[in-house]
Structure formats: C-alpha cells, structure tokens
C-alpha cells in the first residue's frame, strides 16, 4: 500500500453480510443522486486516525467515512447521530 509492506492479498470470493450490502447501497444512491462525491469519501477515509485505518474492515471504513461526509454536507448533525447511537445501544441491551 503506497509502496509500504502489506499483508497477503486474499484472492478467494466471500459473501457479504447484510449491513455491508446496505452500506454499499447507501453510497451508490448518494453518489448517483449527486449528494456526495467519491473524492469526499476518500478524503474522509484518509482522515481516519492511523490505528483506526489499520484496524477497521473495508466496509467499516466506508461507513465511518460516509457518516463524516453526511455530517460535513449537513445531511445529518453530530447530535442526531449521537442520540441515534445511544437509542440503538439501549435497544441492544
């Protein structure tokens, strides 16, 4: 990656969990509708802290970046996001 040593390339196909399919669909719809650009998504992936960048999976990076992008675009607010996350956490208990 970028000329740095990296792990082995996984060449086998694998199935995608439902949440990953949803993240992909959201990104396609928002891009297709002109609400966001792929360049903003890339900027926000690159803006992840190095530790998060190394540890998050592919779609975890996407959803983190998409969330940041939607906040920057004013589609959602940080407060709305925080409250929704608290709701979900309570429901999960």
């Amino acid at each position: 990656m970028g000329g740095l040593p990296a792990g082995k390339v996984e060449r086998t196909e694998h199935d995608y969990p439902e949440w990953e399919r949803r993240v992909d669909a959201m990104v396609q719809l928002l891009r297709g509708g002109g609400k966001i650009t792929v360049d903003e998504l890339r900027k926000n992936i690159e803006g992840l802290p190095p530790q998060a960048y190394d540890q998050l999976s592919y779609y975890e990076k996407w959803i983190s970046s998409l969330t940041q992008t939607l906040i920057q675009r004013g589609v959602i607010t940080t407060e709305e996001l925080g409250r929704k996350m608290e709701d979900l956490e309570r429901r999960g208990r």
Partner: protein, 105 residues
C-alpha cells in the same frame, strides 16, 4: 492530441504530448491527493492523454473542481522507481496523473 474520453466541462488546456518526458512534482500538501507518494519526484513519459476531469483535490473539499484538469497516463520504468528492483529492465508502472502535478523533464 485526441483524448481517450470526451470532456464535458470547461477545462484547462492540455500542455503535454504523448511521448513527452515529465517529472512529477515532489510536494506534500495536505488534503486528498490522487498522486501516489512513491511516484513524486520521478520522471516518466506521457503514454496517453485521458481527457479532462474535475480536479479530485477540489471535489474532495466539496467544491466544483472546475475548470477540469487534463489527466494523463504516465509510464515509469520500474527500475527507476524502486531501488534494487529485481524484475525485467522493460517492466513499467503506469499511473494516471493530473497535469498540475507534472512539469517538463
């Protein structure tokens, strides 16, 4: 010079021809930049003119990216890029780079 893709935006005039030698600017500003770090400062040859596209560095900051920037596919010799490269002398790496990252070599 014919572009691989037609341009539909107001664009900066292309300044390089196929076969011309160019040096990639060795610069590290902040932001989203499509020019890989490992190629900055290296000399290559214009392989083709791809067309003009909105500048991704500007798009990433939620601006229009216009006027569109000419994009070229640039060919570099692998042995020039990687110290101690052990592959064939003829091996190349081709990278698509925007005009504002290139200068005549």
């Amino acid at each position: 010079m014919k572009a691989q893709f037609a341009t539909k935006h107001p664009a900066v005039a292309p300044r390089f021809e196929t076969g011309e030698r160019v040096r990639v600017r060795k610069s590290a500003p902040l932001g989203h930049i499509r020019t890989p770090f490992y190629i900055r400062g290296h000399v290559g040859e214009i392989e083709r003119f791809c067309g003009c596209f909105p500048n991704p560095e500007e798009l990433a900051q939620m601006r229009s990216g216009l006027p569109a920037q000419p994009l070229y596919r640039v060919r570099f010799k692998q042995k020039d890029v990687w110290p101690g490269y052990r592959g064939a002398d003829a091996d190349v790496v081709e990278i698509e780079i925007y005009q504002h990252w290139l200068e005549p070599a």
